[in-house]
Amino acid sequence: MELIFLPLIFGIIAFFLPSKWVRPYGLIASIVVLLFSIDHLIKFDPENYVLMLNPAEVFPLGLTFKMGYDGLALVMVLLTNAVISIILLANWNRAISSNARFTGLVLLMQCALIGLFTSLDGILFYTFWELTLIPIFLILYWFGKQENNRALFKFFLYTLLGSLMMLLSFIGLAYFSPNFSYFQLVQANFDGKSVEAALIMGGILFAFAVKIPLFPFHTWQAPTYTNAPMAGTMLLSALMLKMALFGMIKWMIPIGFEGLVYLKWPVITLGGIGIVYGAIIAMKQKDLKTLFAYASISHLGLIAAGIMLFTFSAIEASMVQIINHSIVAVALFLCAGIIEDRLQTRNIDYLGGIAKVAPRFGFWFAVMTFISVSVPFTAGFIGEFILIKELFTAHWVIGITAASTLVFGAVYMLRAYQASMFGPTNVTVFADLTWNEYAVFGILTLAAVGFGLYPQLIIDFIKPSIKFTQELMAGDLTFTK
């Protein structure tokens, strides 16, 4: 339980600290939480569920208050804690990090995210799902560009509409399951009513599709990203989108499995459209942040399509890709943030020749670009390769569409890199990297290459969880804990 309460307490304390202490405090607090989660990792046995909170009785409304994690959730918890530390480190030399409200909100966000990943009760899951929205909303509102509240409202209401649809699904699910315990929901008995199952799954899917975002639901993303502060964009793309992907693997598909036949190909098709559409739009963008936002639609379309196949290797590859995308998102938005910080613009028309003025930044941006286009020996290579292979096995058309991401990705990323770093020298003054930025780039590169060379690190944790979920769904396993 300390995984949830520590960031909560740290977050509340942060609001009351004087501003000169806030910066070190935030980083230390997040590292302490990370260390606690590593402690959980060391004690963890992938074959078992670890239940942190497990009341025996069922409360009114079918609430069970179960919380715990399997390998899948633990990987996400570790990812959250690591990324939060990295985000705070990346913001070290910015004014925002000395703001007590910012640090407090980030820590509260961490609390809500860990709660989401470890909840084993439908209503708790929904609660944490909504709770993550509040800190991010305040971060975007207080520290983003003030003039554009419209984008902010669009983001909040769009996600809230998704959440309400999910709520509707959970209400409907109550008719098929005795209570909201995850283990009961997964075994929800639809008696072959696959249409009902598909409707319930569709409601949950809507919430996830808005957050991922899948192709026709993506319109909130680009304006929200461009108006957000750097830390807000990182939180959104590196962590909040992953909530939805995690939810698909752990909640949506196991619960509504009978309905998967109806939704599998529509979602894969949308994912495929997203891959091409996002990439093509990204190629034409001038604003670096918008470009990375559309690139993210392209990458996540691939992951979502892979998850819908729900085969072992597709899900393993998706998890590798989820972690890789977090690394890439933090890296790219940090690069965009560095450029904006030094030059007050992100438009690549006004950039050019930065690599001559700031060669070290040029080098690290190149490394990050290569990671994001999934060159071999990075985590992205393994993930994308297996995902494309799996999609190809499912159908050759979607396989080819998915494979285009490799080409397109190289096109828009290298174009962005080339236009901003080389070319005509528009930029004469550009302060090179500070120590914290070196540290962030170093850690990210290490992680990307590490998982690229040895993805088994992740897969070993996930495999038993997926096997376990499948046994649970088949009813082979009576899990009464």
Partner: protein, 450 residues
């Protein structure tokens, strides 16, 4: 059981204490009386009759819960009233006395088990409110509101009385149990009964402020003082809704298929009309009035819920009432000459207590977990899910509009420009804010105790 008497006597004592023109003393007497009533209500024996030979006033477990909530919310309104009436001490006692008499009526309206007690409660509840609305004598808006409320309100009461008479005519009894038996035994086809029930329903719609009988709401809210507005939005609404749900779920149980269409119509129209009109308001009070019309729409789902209607209504009302009281308190703090929403700019950013209260209250009203507002809506909607799915979906769409409304207010109040703004807040207001936030956060935990 003695709670009703305690409250009435406290009201009388309060009137006499008021002659000393010491508002602290009046407040102390009134608060002690209310706390005493709360305690005595807490320890009543279930179904113990009030009079030995007359069973018109009994409190079941649910009714006891509603009564406790009403007393608690009245205490908050009384505390708010102290801040407001401190300046004009000659009216303080009027305010306390009237509000306690009105609470007496509220308790009768909650504990009734025959039509006679029901009507008595309704009148004792309403008449002091007519006076309270117009208590600021110099204010023309207040006089307008008072007159408007009195005329329309007494018209509704007359209709209600006519309905009761028709029901008596067709069933031959005032006792709810006997009426229910008569209705169940197939007399539901009698036109006289149906007309009577419809008249009662129309009057109820007026009292709770549901569309199409909602026109008094915005004007009355605008004319009354903040404390009276808090009382009307919480306690009066609570009692009227409870009586509505109790009568239609228990007594006219067999007529549900007949009335459900009308109730559903009122729900959907209230929700959309309430929220959409609230979006256009620039005055806080009018906005709250329309938002309360919309929330009434939600609460009316309880009428269709035979099994857990009253319990769901309780949870919904504690969430709604405590957030409303919190918002009205904040309005009281920031209100200048007018109650324009622009007064709210940045107040949440400069004052952390107001900021936290405001965020939690507004999120609860938008239906975001884990606050009580979410659980209330969840209970109401989940019970209607099986039979009235299209209406549930419409209600969810309406609640999205509501979320936009509350979000806009939140964004306005949390604007960064407000930094450094000085806000004067009395300790009593802070206490009211804290109590209402506790209610908003923890109200739903009552579900876990039962």
């Amino acid at each position: 059981m003695d709670a009703v008497i305690i409250i009435f006597i406290t009201g009388l004592i309060g009137l006499f204490v008021g002659m000393l023109k010491k508002s602290e003393l009046t407040l102390a007497v009134t608060s002690i009386g209310l706390i005493g009533a709360f305690i005595s209500m807490f320890y009543i024996n279930e179904s113990q009759s009030f009079f030995s030979s007359y069973a018109g006033l009994t409190f079941s477990r649910t009714q006891q819960m509603f009564a406790l909530l009403a007393i608690g919310l009245t205490l908050l309104s009384v505390l708010l009233g102290y801040v407001f009436y401190k300046e004009e001490e000659e009216h303080t006692a009027d305010y306390y006395g009237l509000i306690l008499f009105s609470l007496t009526g509220t308790l009768c309206l909650i504990g009734f088990s025959n039509m006679f007690m029901f009507f008595l409660g309704l009148e004792i509840l309403s008449i002091p409110i007519y006076v309270l609305v117009g208590i600021q004598k110099g204010n023309s808006l207040a006089s307008e509101a008072s007159v408007k409320y009195f005329f329309t309100g007494s018209f509704a009461t007359a209709i209600m009385l006519f309905g009761i008479a028709l029901i008596y005519g067709s069933t031959g009894s005032f006792e709810l149990n006997e009426i229910r038996m008569a209705v169940d035994m197939g007399m539901s086809h009698s036109p006289m009964l149906i007309i009577g029930v419809l008249m009662m329903m129309a009057a109820f719609m007026f009292k709770v402020g549901a569309v199409p009988f909602h026109f008094w709401g915005p004007d009355v809210y605008q004319g009354s003082s903040n404390a009276v507005m808090a009382y009307m939005a919480s306690v009066v609404k609570l009692a009227a809704l409870f009586a509505f749900v109790h009568l239609f779920n228990f007594t006219f149980n067999a007529l549900t298929p007949f009335v459900s269409g009308l109730v559903l119509f009122a729900i959907i129209v209230s929700l959309f009309l309430g929220y959409l009109s609230a979006l256009k308001q620039t005055s806080f009070r009018r906005m709250m009035a329309y938002s309360s019309i919309a929330n009434t729409g939600f609460a009316l789902f309880a009428v269709l819920n035979q099994q857990f209607g009253e319990a769901s209504l309780w949870i919904f009302m504690i969430g709604y009432a405590s957030s409303t009281v919190a918002l009205i308190t904040i309005n009281m703090i920031v209100e200048k000459e007018t109650d324009e929403l622009t007064n709210w700019k940045g107040i949440g950013y400069s004052n952390p207590l107001i900021g936290i209260t405001l965020v939690i209250s507004l999120l609860s009203m938008s239906g975001i977990p884990p606050f009580t507002g979410f659980f209330g809506k969840y209970l109401l909607l989940s019970s209607a899910f099986a039979n009235y799915l299209p209406f549930v979906i419409l209600a969810i769409i309406a609640s999205l509009i509501g979320a936009y409304l509350y979000l806009r207010l939140m964004v306005l109040a949390l604007a960064r420009e407000g930094e450094g703004q000085k806000i004067k807040m009395t300790p009593i207001q802070a206490v009211v804010l804290i109590i209402s936030v506790v209610g908003t956060i923890g109200g739903w935990l009552v579900l876990m105790i039962k």
